[in-house]
Symmetry: C2
């Protein structure tokens, strides 16, 4: 009779749904229907929290709350057909495809050691540049898709991310330390915890000899601005994952643009930039290749400027 229940604050963290949203849904749709403790505070039973987690995932896939809330728990379970996701999963060569499939299977089997070893081998065989573009990038995309489908649990995605980060960081650390320009500050905004994309560009930038300053994810805008000035950065590079709500990207970029000195460039990339409009003073990078091109352009422009 393990009757576990969660406070509204816990549910917010477990599901990612705000307290306001949770109360609103209860008011409008009658679900969730938490019990109350002696003081009148909500207490959500574990099964309702699980159902909320499922609903959240379906909403992120493009379903609408009103529909989902009216459905029975069983109907929700059967529904999980993919809905949105326009992104084209470009087919790789057979070799690459097989390798990526292998990696996915290893994560699914929770074989951390084998997965990591597999990655290391790919890295050694392909070299850092191709490893990033041909292995890590497609793998990351596939994992994201699998998560959306519900084929991957959250913790499986976490483990994949953590292990991949390690391999990438290790590879980056083994590069000779750069001293020249540009100095690039790499980070993400407060609501963006995903950092794999950032590590990928860091690897590519570092290969090109740029000086990368990794601040880690979820840095307050005021601190990003401070850090950029203190480190005399030439460029601030941000990453937005596909999980980041597209409508929040432009305000965040605008705000940071205002806070940054005008002579520091602001670059934004990642899946989450896909459908974001052009903005004054912000360089959009839609792919890893865009990033390399931008870096090349910067170097060319800047070396001229130096000579002048």
């Amino acid at each position: 009779m393990n009757k576990i229940s969660f406070t509204i604050a816990s549910v917010e963290k477990e599901t990612g749904l705000s307290k306001d949203t949770l109360r609103m849904w209860e008011r409008r749709y009658g679900f969730p229907a938490p019990e109350r403790d002696g003081v009148g505070d909500r207490l959500y039973p574990a099964d309702q929290v699980e159902r909320l987690r499922l609903i959240k995932r379906l909403i992120d896939q493009g379903h609408r709350p009103g529909r989902l809330m009216a459905m029975s728990p069983e109907a929700l379970q059967t529904l999980p057909t993919r809905h949105l996701q326009v992104a084209t999963t470009r087919d790789a060569t057979t070799d690459e495809a097989r390798e990526i499939g292998d990696c996915l299977a290893l994560i699914k089997d929770h074989d951390a050691a084998a997965f990591q070893q597999n990655l290391q081998q790919s890295l050694a065989r392909q070299g850092l540049g191709r490893f990033v573009t041909d292995t890590v990038a497609p793998l990351t995309r596939r994992v994201g898709e699998a998560w959306e489908d519900g084929r991957f649990a959250v913790f499986e995605e976490h483990l994949f991310t953590e292990l991949t980060k390690r391999v990438l960081r290790q590879a980056i650390a083994s590069l000779p330390p750069a001293t020249g320009r540009p100095r690039i500050l790499l980070t993400s905004v407060p609501d963006e915890p995903h950092v794999l994309g950032l590590l990928m560009v860091e690897a590519l930038f570092a290969l090109e000899g740029a000086q990368c300053i990794p601040l880690g994810p979820q840095v307050p805008l005021l601190d990003i601005a401070q850090a950029a000035t203190a480190h005399q950065a030439d460029i601030v590079a941000l990453s937005f994952s596909s999980a980041f709500p597209a409508r929040r990207v432009p305000p965040a970029l605008f705000q940071l643009r205002e806070l940054l000195p005008a002579d520091i460039a602001l670059w934004a990339g990642g899946e989450g930039m896909q459908h974001v409009a052009q903005q004054e003073g912000v360089n959009r990078l839609f792919s890893l290749k865009d990033g390399l091109d931008a870096l090349g352009l910067w170097t060319a422009t800047n070396s001229e400027a130096k000579k002048a």
Copy 2:
């Protein structure tokens, strides 16, 4: 005139103060005193956000909101005398002390490359075990203290953390992969983003031949429980930093204890465990040494059990 202002949601992320708290302070103390946009929504000017960040830091040091809110901005600036912090900064040997001082200075100078190189040298000289206990641990403590004093900006702490994580991860990756028991799942709860302590114990545990499964920080409790079962973990190890409010630790541990199968041990460590009461089914680890002792005990107990 660059009049930058923040919405209440932005301020929540920039300062770490909840929307509820921000509105409450305004109601009670008259500060912050945001402007309003056309719809009546709050708009916080940048200088008020900065003042809130300062106030937040002072509160974390043990000051009380009521006092701080009544003080003028100038008085706040002069106040920053250290208040709390009982922790005894044990003096190391002269050599160690000098080295740690050097590292702090390098971070303060924003010389990332030199700092990282310095760490690598210490690692090579001391070996991973002593490196963790004699260099990383005291260094982390000193950085925490410096941040509390306001000598370190947030971004400086971020950079320190990021670089140190890299060195540690690299060292861990270079160890031979473990295959035996115990299998230890390492992670932190949703409100705990600090993960350095976790990496330190991972290094020590991995040295002892334990199989570590790093899930990364801020994993929902339901996912921790799922992952522990899926990975057939023997132990779930959590880390709480000193920044984590002590009163929230017991509920979190209790909840996770309920969610975990009874045969999976729950270990909790980190600065944040210092003044937390003993709980049924939870093993408290007050220091890195405690962790190693606990691991030794587990191994002894478990190998007997296997023979029986």
